[in-house]
Symmetry: C2
Subunit: 223 residues, 2 copies
């Protein structure tokens, strides 16, 4: 039975080529902007001709789709790791604010360090491209992870239970997306650590925590 093995080897090679195409595409997007992706440039860097890429991807948008899905999976893995400890059991944060600050910093840092992925994921920079159902599922998974984080924090009595979870998830994503957007749009050359926008994360998380923490009544609260 050598036939299956040969097929496996072929498929492995094919997958490696696909991975390399995506890598080079991200490289080009990082240099020339997300909308500046050119299949000709990708082929040139890989030592091929443009039409050869069509063996692996049906269209330019299919390449964008792979970057989109890969981005959400990577962000999910990076940020989601904070929600679980090594054994995989649910983590019990001692204090709410330091925990949420760590989560937001981890996510925003990922977006600043992966600007091509992040812009494709958070903005709509490419006319005509919309994520496929498969790619969108990766985004939904990541949002669901954030949502279940808030469920967990609420069950631990760290967050108010009189506010709709949707509102917390929405305001949370507005804050993280807002920081990422202003940092990448206004000063894309600044790193996460030296960013003047990323530096406001502690203040923004403090506002969020004051508003939604369980203990006190944050605003207009009838004490």
């Amino acid at each position: 039975m050598t036939a299956p093995a040969r097929i496996d080897r072929r498929q492995r090679r094919r997958l490696e080529t696909i991975e390399e195409i995506v890598d080079v595409a991200v490289e080009v997007m990082t240099e020339h902007g997300v909308g500046g992706l050119s299949l000709g440039e990708v082929a040139r860097r890989m030592g091929m001709r443009t039409p050869s890429l069509y063996v692996y991807f049906d269209s330019k948008n299919a390449v964008y789709d792979a970057v989109f899905a890969r981005g959400w999976r990577s962000a999910y893995e990076t940020t989601g790791a904070l929600h679980l400890d090594v054994e995989g059991t649910v983590r019990r944060p001692a204090q709410l604010e330091p925990y949420l600050l760590l989560v937001s910093r981890t996510f925003v840092r990922w977006t600043i360090e992966n600007p091509a992925h992040a812009q494709l994921m958070m903005w709509r920079p490419v006319p005509g491209y919309e994520p496929s159902a498969d790619a969108f599922a990766a985004a939904v998974d990541a949002l669901e992870a954030a949502r279940s984080m808030f469920v967990r924090l609420r069950d631990l009595d760290l967050l108010r239970s009189d506010v709709a979870l949707d509102e917390m998830v929405q305001t949370w994503t507005v804050i993280t997306t807002g920081v990422m957007t202003r940092q990448l749009a206004n000063a894309p050359q600044e790193s996460f650590d030296e960013g003047r926008v990323t530096a406001t994360l502690p203040a923004l998380v403090a506002m969020f925590v004051a508003h939604y923490r369980h203990s006190g009544s944050p605003t207009k609260g009838k004490k």
Copy 2:
């Protein structure tokens, strides 16, 4: 002296044509996405040939630049009107939170109703385009207006004076930009009034006010 009059008429016609080109360009950007602007499409809709547009604009990026500058001027006029009363004297808001909610709602509403302008202004959707010094000045004016609003509110003892103004301006723009970004990226077809993201503005402004208002000590405040 008929010559100057004829020149005036010509210049007026020229300015009208320029305005029309920008109008049609915004129309195309709204339909096909900001990066989907095609000078050929603009010329087609105006009943001209593409090269004729180059009489009025040096390049495609010059058209983007006009849209960028026009957008910031329009946003400035729309939002800045709230800061002054009819006579032009400084307005004295009775309550901080309703006032800031009105300002943020007015600004974000403008971005949702002018998505092409807003995306060009707040994101970086067009590879190779960077605003010229002139166009950038319009953006600086608008940001300065926001900053002076906070100066005024602080002088009126409505905002804390122990926090750097820069931080307030930064967190404020993060919130407004974040709402605009998530609404336009995730549900661009929803109007401002029916938007599920824009609906979180009251909660976000409440957080902001609780954190920065003068009276109480919002978080970790030593009472």
